[in-house]
């Protein structure tokens, strides 16, 4: 058992490293086929008045016309040694730029995850404990609704209601508590919905299991049944779903940060994409991939330790995301 776990862990770690490196190469290739680059972007501003030959000369002088593989090799070896290079757009070190915006996004992301868990937990509890016909029906409809509203509409609405009408926060101070709070609420709506969908599906599944009936026959009340029996097996698969959501949070932060005027990884991406600032994009995508892969690695490594049912033979079969249809979530995460 111990041995099997170590083999499994080693395999997963190697796999994670491979994925990170592949992601780097993949991103580089995709980003390299983007038309133009920030240098020409600045140069081509009509107010600048450069002629085409002047522009080409400047590009050549900066070595931006080297073949892609050469640039990839330079960039990849920099990445492996921890050097992220300089931004083509602003000329500043990419690492500095990311370090500047990272805290804000981390705060937002952790608040978002906390809210998502709370909301998903409430929906999960409501789906089991509320009166069946109306209470449950409404609570169970919430995830669908949350998943149907464009995120930026939620954000704008919250800003207008709480920022302007109620004056709870100043739009120009997006790092204040309430501004962060509402940004996190915005970001948490689709995330919590997806977690809730999986949680509710699992809870339903678990509460249909014989052991729930047997526990009730033992005289357990609903609250204790929920917390003692249903919650753990239902939320174990949610652990991996949450890990998958990390990518979602980073992706959606793009819109939320733009709407709320927050500086963060998301808005940095947005700016870098619109100017095609290759080194920054490359670094952020790789960073996102590293975060995603590491979080999922941790989830995968922790999962067998949390779930006593998992025996490590071959790979751990992971539950799927909400996206993939909660119907697919195996009620028993057992490997033969």
């Amino acid at each position: 058992m111990r041995n099997a776990y170590l083999v499994y862990a080693a395999k997963r770690i190697v796999q994670a490293v491979v994925v990170i490196l592949l992601t780097y190469v993949f991103t580089f290739i995709v980003v390299s086929i983007l038309p133009g680059d920030p240098v020409t972007n600045v140069l081509r501003n009509p107010q600048n008045g450069f002629s085409e030959e002047e522009i080409q000369a400047i590009i050549a002088a900066q070595g931006l016309d080297r073949p892609i593989p050469v640039q990839l090799w330079d960039s990849l070896s920099g990445f492996v040694t921890g050097d992220l290079g300089l931004s083509m757009r602003s000329g500043r070190p990419v690492a500095t730029m990311i370090a500047e915006v990272l805290p804000s996004t981390l705060i937002l992301a952790s608040m978002t995850l906390a809210f998502s868990l709370i909301i998903a937990g409430l929906i999960g509890y409501g789906s089991q404990a509320l009166p069946r016909k109306y209470g449950q029906g409404i609570v169970r409809g919430i995830p669908s609704l949350f998943l149907s509203v464009p995120n930026f509409v939620i954000g704008l609405l919250l800003i207008h209601i709480f920022g302007f009408q109620l004056g709870l926060f100043r739009v120009i101070d997006p790092n204040s508590f309430w501004a962060t709070f509402f940004a996190a609420v915005t970001l948490a709506t689709p995330i919590s919905a997806q977690i809730a969908e999986v949680l509710v599906a699992n809870l339903d599944n678990e509460s249909r299991q014989e052991y729930a009936a047997v526990a009730r026959a033992r005289g357990l009340r609903q609250v204790r049944l929920f917390f003692l029996h249903l919650l753990k097996p239902s939320s174990l698969p949610v652990v991996t779903v949450i890990a998958l959501m990390v990518g979602e949070v980073l992706g959606n932060a793009l819109i939320t940060e733009t709407v709320f005027g927050r500086t963060g990884i998301g808005s940095l991406v947005q700016r870098s994409v619109s100017t095609q600032d290759l080194p920054v994009l490359q670094a952020i995508v790789s960073l996102a991939a590293v975060v995603f892969v590491v979080v999922n690695l941790i989830a995968d490594l922790v999962y067998p330790l949390l779930d006593p049912r998992v025996k490590l033979v071959g790979a751990v079969r992971r539950p799927t995301t909400a996206d993939e249809g909660s119907a697919n979530i195996p009620s028993r995460v057992v490997t033969e």
């Binding site: 038309p35 133009g36 680059d37 920030p38 240098v39 020409t40 972007n41 600045v42 140069l43 081509r44 501003n45 009509p46 107010q47 600048n48 008045g49 450069f50 002629s51 085409e52 002047e54 000369a57 400047i58 002088a61 900066q62 300089l86 931004s87 083509m88 757009r89 602003s90 000329g91 500043r92 070190p93 730029m97 500047e100 915006v101 704008l156 800003i159 207008h160 920022g163 302007f164 004056g167 100043r170 739009v171 120009i172 733009t258 709407v259 005027g261 500086t263 808005s267 940095l268 700016r271 619109s274 100017t275 095609q276």
Partner: protein, 510 residues
Amino acid sequence: SEEDGGDIVFLIDSLGDTWIPNNSAISSFQGHIWGHVTDKLVYVDADGKASPWLAESWEQNDDATEFTLHLKSGVTFSDGAPLDAAAVIANLDIWYAGRTSEGINPIGLFPKTYDRAEAVDAATVKVYFKAPTLGFIPTLGYHGSILISPNSIAQPASDQADLSKTAGSGPYLVEAWKEGDFVRLVKRADYNWGPPAVGHTGPAFLDSITYKLVPEPSLRVASVQSGQADVAYNASPQELESLGEEGFTVATPRYLGFVNGWAINTQVAPFDDVKVRQALQAGINRQEIIDTVYTPDWLLATSFIQSNVPGATDHGDLLAYDPDRAEKLLDEAGWVKGADGIRAKDGTQLTLIVHSNPYLATSKSVDELIAQQLGKIGWKVVIRAFDVVTFGEKVRYASPTVPAYEVTRSFIDAGTVASILTDANKGENWFGLGESDAKLNDLRDRIASAGSVEIRDPLLDELQAYVLDQGYFIPRTQIVQRIYVQAPELKGEVYNGVAYASYYTARKSK
């Protein structure tokens, strides 16, 4: 003064790409900050008039190849370095050449004819050109020509990119900034060399100015409305009217330059036919554009250059909306209306492909409205929209795929206009005419060799009439590229020739 002090917040839609001074100073966004942090040698006001600033006076030789600048004394950069002849030369040199291998670009509009500059003494600089350069002095008042401390100029690009490491001589200092977030400026107490043209030369009144990035236009305006900020930049024109009624100051200063309009590529059918071009000229209802997309703050185009440019003349009669005339011209040109209401000739439909200019937020709306207007006379308009990068890459003057290039361009001196239009002397050949239009060539040459404004102005007038009559350039409206919505408490700001607001002279009442 009891009204001194105060802090203002200016909401802006972008803080640009980089703070390397050469690369960023022409940006619509960063120009605001540079305008407060740095000074220029010459001041150009909203009417295009150049006046002394840090260059207290200047002389030039007869063929405009040698200029002597006399600098104000006692001016220092915020890092303590004196703003003397050496500093000016360092700036002139880097404006001209940049350090391209490091990623520091030259200043695009700086005369390519620059040869060298020499210090006559600590306060006198002599500048030499390889060819006559009448526009040199106005160029010194252009937004790219900001004076930076020689220490900053000597820094490598990655340090120059850090705004707080760059020292200017302006009335404000960068106190703090964060990429893509905000820039906070604080007043420089010992500042004492403001441009006399604005009527104040001492330290600024406001203690601080914070430029804060808020990408959503509706949020910028709503913030000002709710008192959370003092100025919203680039509000949507539709909202201006009611904002004005609510008591907010709405400013729509115009820069000096071309009006917003299309440079027509005469090489692309059907625009090789003067009648089609003239029909286009007559088929656009410019008043409706202003009524629908804009507000009365926008002015009708009366030429292809803005009416505040010295030398601009009123040719409104050539730009009148006359759909009947347009239809008649098209009929004459052989474009007949088909069953679907679209004109066709030899099986091809009368089509106009336009590329909305990404530098002007309202461009798409105007395109759509014009599409409606032209639709009525049987013209099919296809609108394409690109981002800034792709636009720069794909949409060029006189490119075979671009029948109409939407111009949004400022310039300092109307004298440079004529030379852009053809392809002589690295001209941009806006209409794809090359050297084929003798009259245009003739006007161009005579304007270039004109020794004085008195000689040049009638020629400019003739040029404007000719270009408009030929339908080479289809003006839409006079351009307002910068729109300001300002809290009523804030007063006294000044707009310069490129329509930037300067709060050096502004005060905020409590």
